[in-house]
């Protein structure tokens, strides 16, 4: 668990982060989101002490990070940045081996770890291990960046707009890959973005910051979209909150109606589809109702009324 206790960062008279208190639970993805100048990156880099707080304390599992050796602290935390920052003179394998080598792992253990990580991020070691960063696409580079951050299997991963410079299609793919990895790895991830759609897609919780590092709301995405705590939050979330929120809810969690005598609707959706997909299917279906299936089993029928109910 990462705890921010009244953490401030001031540059002269300018307050970048003001008295931020926040808890990041172990194994969760917490997204720090907000417009530029809201102090989200500053807050992130105070965790690995690339920036030192002016006042307040950040602790990890109860230990104040200010009392820890700064380089040991950083080696225990994975760090991914938007520009990736791969070492251009080193191969992909050497890049990924950085932290294990700093920790003086044996040659054999490092080699095994590099191979494992390349497999994990979907880059076959045979093809990629010996390439230089310049020989990779943007998406591949960021995958290597993630693999490098996971080098010595840190419990915490800090990600500063990692997919910000990547085109939208690859971006969504990388977001999905991160969620897939997280199901296996259960890391504590702090993720910075200015893109609210990315924030609600990726985050278990979203901390929304405004100018000067003021925490406007800290909530699960479904809660955030349904009940914005202030006008600032509502404005930052933008138009169509309730419709976008449907993408976060599952059909199986809605109250389904039992099929009536007139037979099953011909259009159907899967139980693990989102309510947004279900609504889309309802709008396409003739009777305004669609069948919900879990593989071959029929679970029930869903219509716009049950979606409205489920989204309250």
């Amino acid at each position: 668990m990462i705890t921010f206790d009244r953490v401030s960062k001031r540059y002269g008279r300018v307050t970048a982060v003001g008295e931020l208190s926040l808890e990041v639970a172990s194994g969760e993805i917490v997204v720090l989101a907000g417009p530029s100048g809201c102090g989200k990156t500053t807050s992130l880099t105070m965790i690995n002490r690339l920036i030192e707080p002016t006042s307040g304390a950040i602790s990890i599992d109860g230990r104040d990070t200010a009392t820890m050796d700064v380089n040991a602290l950083r080696r225990s935390i994975g760090y991914v940045i938007q520009q990736v920052g791969l070492f251009p003179h080193q191969t992909v394998a050497e890049n990924i081996a950085t932290v294990p080598r700093l920790a003086r792992w044996s040659r054999r253990r490092v080699a095994g770890r590099v191979e494992e990580l390349l497999e994990l991020v979907g880059l076959p070691p045979g093809d990629y291990a010996q390439r230089l960063p310049a020989e990779l696409s943007g998406g591949e580079r960021q995958r290597v960046g993630v693999a490098r951050a996971l080098g010595a299997d840190p419990d915490i991963l800090l990600m500063d707009e990692p997919f910000g410079a990547i085109d939208p299609v690859v971006r969504v793919r990388l977001q999905n890959e991160l969620l897939r990895l997280q199901k296996v790895l259960h890391k504590t991830i702090v993720f910075v973005t200015h893109d609210i759609d990315e924030a609600v897609r990726i985050g278990d919780r979203v901390a929304l910051l405004s100018q000067g590092g003021v925490l406007e709301q800290y909530a699960r995405p479904v809660e955030l979209l349904a009940h914005p705590a202030s006008a600032f939050v509502a404005e930052f979330l933008g138009e169509g909150r309730m419709v976008r929120r449907l993408a976060l809810l599952r059909v199986r969690d809605a109250r389904l109606a039992q099929p009536n005598g007139s037979g099953l609707p011909t259009v159907s959706v899967r139980a693990d589809a989102s309510l947004r997909d279900a609504l889309d299917a309802i709008l396409r279906a003739d009777g305004g109702r669609v069948t919900v299936r879990d593989v071959d089993t029929v679970l029930g029928v869903i219509d716009s009324e049950s979606i409205r109910e489920a989204s309250r």
């Binding site: 880099t45 950083r74 990736v84 251009p88 932290v99 990779l136």
Partner: protein
């Protein structure tokens, strides 16, 4: 008399002068590389130090070599020592400037990633910044070496027994001939070309990763 037969006939004197010339250049460049590298690293870190050291080293270059060697010989005596010291001072500017520029040109994202992964400042320097600045640093060493090989001849005026001697002798005697001057000049040019070629080769090898990775 052809220049080649002249050089062959006088190899008894010229040979040791070639050796001494190379020794003087090698010693000056080794010291200048070490000192210049250290000063260059500091210049990359501090804008004020950079202005200061680049000012001092470029001013040194404006002092005529004849005068500099003469002044240094008052303190260091006649012979090779004042020449070596003078050449070190001349060689500093290109080495310091290129080291500093090379380090400053490293992508800040790369050094941020290095620090973020827990590299100590010395490790960031040794494993990331210097390797990436190596082609630029080698460029500075090349410039300095070629320059020093030529200026070393002036050292003969304060008694250095290098390839300046045959030139100085020929110019100082009314019976001196062009062939005698060339007997000094041609080996100097050859040493300069070979040194430049060798360093260019090293530079190419070191640039391979860095150049291809320039966009990484």
């Amino acid at each position: 008399m052809s220049i080649i037969t002249y050089i062959v006939d006088n190899w008894g004197t010229l040979g040791p002068q070639v050796t001494t010339h190379i020794e003087i250049v090698a010693m000056s460049m080794a010291a200048a590389a070490l000192i210049g590298l250290i000063l260059g690293v500091f210049a990359a870190r501090s804008e004020r130090f950079s202005t200061l050291i680049l000012g001092v080293t470029s001013t040194l270059l404006t002092v005529p070599s004849f005068a500099l060697f003469g002044l240094l010989s008052i303190w260091a005596g006649l012979g090779n020592p004042p020449v070596i010291i003078g050449l070190i001072l001349y060689a500093l500017l290109p080495v310091v400037r290129n080291t500093s520029t090379g380090i400053r040109a490293v992508d800040p994202a790369v050094t941020e990633a290095a620090r973020g992964m827990g590299m100590r400042p010395s490790q960031v320097l040794a494993r990331v910044e210097l390797p990436l600045a190596a082609p630029a640093i080698l460029g500075g060493l090349r410039q300095a070496t070629v320059m020093v090989v030529a200026i070393a001849t002036v050292g003969a005026t304060v008694g250095a027994d290098d390839l300046g001697q045959p030139i100085l002798e020929a110019l100082g005697r009314s019976s001196g001939t062009l062939v005698q001057v060339l007997a000094g000049v041609i080996p100097v040019a050859a040493i300069g070309l070979v040194a430049d070629g060798v360093l260019a080769g090293v530079q190419r090898v070191l640039s391979r990763g860095a150049a291809r990775g320039a966009v990484g």
